[in-house]
């Protein structure tokens, strides 16, 4: 619960910053629950202050995708549930050549366009049907379908599999 609160505070803070910016077409609804993801940068859809803030319900509203795959960080072959990064980028009308993903511990990776211009990466929020806490690398974790092809079993892909994700910036 405290995690959610912290996220909420963070989200509100960001929202406040956004509100202070120039007015924009706010065609993305305001989040009603705690904000768990903030997308900024070159995007065409926002919900105030140049950012697109998402709560859990908004993410689910973009459409659920599931990937069943083993990872090098987990035991067994869990099923991850979330929204596809591609769909999210479409939802915010991302218009950049690079995407920076930033975690709670400020771990930052760059995800190239080929990973989000087509269906590859997933922003997972559930593992085996249960929401992931920060202790479990939640609340959001970028997952690739590692088992489906050898190209997803590279160190680069593992490095892009950022967990405890809470911000994205399109550049």
């Amino acid at each position: 619960m405290r995690r959610f609160l912290a996220a909420l505070c963070l989200g509100l803070g960001l929202a406040a910053t956004g509100l202070s910016g120039p007015a924009r077409a706010a065609d993305l609804p305001e989040p009603t629950g705690p904000v768990i993801l903030v997308v900024s940068g070159k995007i065409g859809v926002t919900n105030g202050a140049g950012t697109a803030r998402f709560d859990r319900a908004m993410l689910e509203g973009l459409g659920i995708t599931k990937i069943r795959t083993s990872t090098i960080w987990t035991e067994g072959t869990p099923t991850f549930t979330g929204v596809s990064l591609h769909r999210l980028m479409e939802a915010v009308k991302a218009d950049g050549t690079n995407l920076k993903a930033i975690a709670l511990n400020d771990y930052t990776v760059e995800i190239p366009p080929e990973d989000w211009q087509k269906d590859a990466a997933l922003i997972a929020f559930q593992r085996d049907g249960k929401d992931m806490s920060v202790r479990d690398k939640g609340p959001l974790w970028i997952i690739y379908p590692y088992d489906s092809a050898p190209r997803f079993q590279s160190e680069l892909t593992y490095a892009r599999s950022i967990w405890q994700l809470h911000r994205l910036r399109v550049e």
Binding site: R3, L5, A6, T74, N105, V134, R135, Q153, E155, Y158
Partner: protein, 876 residues
């Protein structure tokens, strides 16, 4: 040229060298294949290793593990700072909680992540990790509790965190060490693999070098072989191109594929014209030549006989035909079958051969002409001689003063000698012409030898020589052979021995040789002058006399021994001489002779007279008396024949033509029938046939054909018609007697036909009138009869000669009969020249040849001359 280029291994290479090269090349190939296999295996091995490595590298089972482990230190530090910050009031509790969760999540990853399985197995990592996990789990109630509780627990949390600092550090170090080791091992493995790959690469390079060497060697061999083949092809081509014979290569169906320069020269076709054309059609003259070639090829295929040559008539481009000698060989080149034909133009050789043959034929012809001339001469000489001798015999029938009788005796002796010589020459020429044939009949040696002694007794008496014959060894009297020839040879030998011996002895020894006695030897041994060794071979040559002056004295032609040698050879025997000068000579005659069981031979040969025997033995005694049927249309001939027969005491019945003869023969049995051939109404052939067939009284009586001159093919016809023997016209009394004697039962003389009538016209100029014959005629016929017959002759001849001279009615069928009739009459009156002309005309008519008008026109003059002479003589 396919045949050349495809020829097998070059002959220069030699079989040994070639085999070695092949073995070497096979070794090379084996080495190459092995090397290739090794290289392939190496490449597969290397690829496997490298693919494994690529696989290992391309998929990472871990992300940056070192970073993750190092991060644990950093995040632990952040947590401790957050705890301190919270104690000091700088940081919020939420920040503390977030840093706790982040660290917690990191340590959870160590506990659960696949990447860390390896580390978890290590005590140095697992022990501190458990301690850290225990610290985190211990702190959970505090972190998850209320803010107040957390705030109150901060100092405790700080202490616990401080205590956990060492394990966290150990954990990080152990992780780093483990991964360093792992990386080190991994590097070692990669190095090893690379070493292996390097080794394999070296091996591969070595294999490739070997391969290259093997290929080089094979290529070298191939090149050498190609050079050899090239050289061989060049040699073959130069042989083909410089060949004097045409060489034509064709496919199975005869289509020309190669045409060498000689073929071009011989046939006149350019190669581009000939190639593609069908060889038998353009190179051979006609279907006959093509058929001959086809049969030659069949024979070759069938018999597999020796490579033969065939002569064909070829034709060149301009249509000139020429004889060609051709040899065809079949060559199989792979699947392809071709024919190689060697063709030689042999027209020059043929021409030379023909010239040679012509020259030989001309030489032979001239030789034969000479022999014929000799034979004709001898034969023609015999007729007047017989006339002389016959007349002398008839003179003996009348009384005459002793002086005349003595002179007549000399004349008779000289005449007989002359006749003997003529007969010798005739025998010789007959032998040379191949006309003598050996008889094969039974006879008695005793009688034969008695006859020899009897015949030569007179000569022996003259020289006061003793003459006898004796058996040596077994006495087998009966034999089968040619008694006439044998007697002739023995008389020759004995006569010869007697001539060169005075007051000595001549002995004839007879001895059967061998156990079975199929061979006999006669030895004529004299005690005369002998023969020098150097002369002993010479004496058997023709016309050879050792002493010409003596030879003249003793009256020899020098032909006797030559003839004896020929006759001996003819009978399959040999003749020879052993002699010493002054001691005497031994002539031996050895010949195969069959003997027969005693009693199988009837009668004797005493009466048999050969030409030589006849002369010395004296006149033959007439046989008979006989009943004779004389069938002859020519009245003159008939009259003379009747006179001759009746003079010997025979009873003669005359028939004027064949029909009359047949009628007589049916009614009455005669002892012998004399049958003229050319007769009106029914000729001699038909008459003889009917007599043999009609079953009359004389059905099996001997018939003797009487003919002026018989062609050889006609003699066969006489015999076919049933006439076993024939005598020549004009009739010779002695001949007639011989024939009659030979026919009589028990007379073994029946055998050869006497001299065949000669059809060739005499090439010498004949006397107009044969005086001897006129004399004989005058002797036989009384004057009134003579004149009557002469008138008949004149009447007959006037009409016919005029007709022939004017060339009238030459196509009439009766002409030949008329000519024959007149020729017979003219012969009897001794009108030799006229008779010869008429005989020639008759021969031409018989053979259907055109008549020579020029000669016909000369006939009347000839007749006129003849008749004038004849009247003068007959009137005498």
């Amino acid at each position: 040229m396919p045949a050349a280029s495809s020829s097998p291994a070059s002959p220069a290479a030699g079989p040994g060298r070639s085999r070695a090269a092949i073995a070497a090349s096979r070794r090379g190939v084996a080495v190459t294949i092995t090397a290739l296999a090794v290289c392939f295996a190496l490449i597969v091995g290397m690829a496997w290793i490298l693919l494994q490595e690529i696989d290992a590298i391309s998929t990472a089972k871990s992300d940056n593990v070192q970073w993750t482990i190092a991060q644990a230190d950093v995040e632990f530090l952040r947590l401790r700072l957050a705890i301190e910050g919270a104690e000091a009031g700088r940081d919020t509790l939420d920040e503390l909680r977030r840093d706790f969760d982040v660290f917690y999540s990191r340590i959870q990853t160590f506990a659960q992540g696949q990447s860390f399985e390896l580390l978890r197995a290590r005590e140095a990592f697992e022990t501190p990790r458990r301690k850290v996990s225990a610290f985190l789990d211990g702190a959970l109630p505090l972190i998850d509790g209320s803010d107040a509780a957390l705030r109150a627990g901060l100092p405790q949390l700080a202490r616990q965190a401080e205590a956990a600092a060492v394990p966290v550090h150990d954990l990080a170090l152990a992780g780093l060490m483990a991964f360093a080791e792992k990386t080190d091992i991994r590097r070692g493995q990669v190095v090893n693999k690379l070493l292996v790959v390097t080794g394999l690469l070296l091996l591969l390079v070595a294999g490739l070098v070997m391969l290259a060497a093997a290929f080089r060697r094979v290529a070298g061999l191939a090149e050498a072989r190609a050079r050899e083949v090239q050289a061989s092809a060049t040699r073959m081509r130069s042989i083909v191109e410089t060949s004097i014979d045409a060489i034509v290569l064709t496919t199975r169906d005869g289509t020309i594929r190669e045409f060498n320069p000689a073929a071009e020269r011989i046939f006149g076709y350019r190669p581009e014209e000939a190639i593609g054309a069908r060889a038998p059609e353009i190179l051979l003259r006609d279907d006959r030549a093509r058929a001959a070639l086809a049969s030659y090829l069949r024979r070759r295929d069938g018999g597999a006989g020796p490579r033969g040559l065939i002569e064909l008539t070829a034709v060149d481009r301009s249509g000139r035909s020429f004889p060609a000698e051709v040899a065809v060989d079949r060559v199989t080149i792979g699947e392809d079958e071709v024919f190689v034909a060697f063709i030689r133009d042999i027209s020059h050789r043929k021409a030379a051969e023909e010239n040679l043959t012509d020259a030989r034929d001309r030489a032979l012809a001239s030789e034969r002409a000479k022999a014929d001339f000799l034979a004709v001469m001898s034969h023609e000489m015999r007729t007047p001689l017989n006339g002389l001798l016959g007349s002398m015999q008839l003179m003996r029938d009348v009384e005459m003063p002793p002086r005349q009788s003595e002179l007549l005796g000399r004349m008779q002796a000289s005449g007989q000698l002359l006749l003997g010589l003529v007969n010798d020459v005739l025998d010789l020429s007959k032998y040379e012409a191949g006309k003598l044939e050996v008889e094969h009949r039974s006879f008695r040696l005793t009688a034969l030898l008695d006859g020899v002694v009897e015949t030569t007794a007179a000569l022996a008496g003259e020289r006061r020589n003793e003459l006898e014959w004796v058996w040596v060894g077994r006495r087998i009297d009966a034999a089968i052979g040619d008694p006439r020839r044998l007697k002739q040879v023995l008389i020759n030998l004995v006569g010869n021995a007697l001539k060169f011996t005075w007051g000595g002895t001549v002995t004839i020894e007879v001895e059967w040789l061998g156990r079975k006695g199929a061979e006999i030897e006669f030895r004529v041994i004299d005690t005369g002058i002998g023969i020098a060794p150097e002369d002993q071979d010479r004496i058997f040559s023709d016309f050879e006399t050792l002493d010409s002056s003596y030879s003249r004295q003793s009256g020899g032609t020098g032909l006797g021994l030559g003839i004896s040698r020929r006759l001996a050879h003819l009978m399959g025997g040999e003749i020879g001489v052993e002699s010493e000068l002054g001691e005497g000579s031994l002539f031996w005659l050895r010949l195969p002779l069959d003997h027969v069981a005693e009693g199988a031979v009837a009668g004797t040969v005493a009466g048999d007279g050969g030409p030589a025997g006849r002369g010395v033995a004296g006149p033959r005694a007439p046989v008979g008396p006989l009943e004779v049927l004389l069938v002859e249309d020519n009245e003159i001939n008939r009259a003379i024949a009747r006179e001759m027969l009746e003079a010997d005491g025979h009873v003669v019945t005359e028939a004027a033509d064949g029909r009359a003869g047949v009628d007589w023969a049916r009614l009455k049995r005669f002892d012998v029938i004399l049958m003229d051939i050319s007769m009106p109404v029914m000729d001699g052939h038909e008459a003889a046939r009917q007599i043999r067939l009609n079953g009359g009284a004389s059905v099996d009586v001997p018939i003797i054909a009487v003919t002026a001159h018989a062609l050889p093919e006609e003699i066969a016809r006489y015999q076919a018609a049933g006439m076993e023997r024939h005598v020549s016209k004009p009739l010779d009394r002695e001949d007639l007697r011989n024939e009659l004697a030979a026919l009589m039962p028990g007379a073994p003389g029946a055998g050869t036909v006497p001299d065949e009538g000669r059809t060739a016209p005499p090439e010498v100029r004949l006397p107009l009138i044969d005086d001897a014959r006129i004399a004989a005629l005058c002797e036989i016929l009384p004057r009134p009869e003579r004149l009557r017959l002469l008138d008949m002759l004149v009447a007959e001849a006037d009409a016919l000669v005029a007709r022939l001279g004017e060339g009238r009615d030459l196509g009439d069928t009766d002409l030949r009969g008329d000519v024959h009739h007149l020729a017979g009459s003219a012969g009897n009156f001794g009108l030799s020249a006229l008779r010869a002309e008429l005989v020639e005309i008759e021969t031409a008519l018989k053979r259907g040849q055109p008549l020579d008008r020029q000669r016909l026109r000369r006939l009347p003059a000839l007749w006129s001359d003849s008749v004038t002479g004849l009247r003068r003589r007959c009137a005498a």
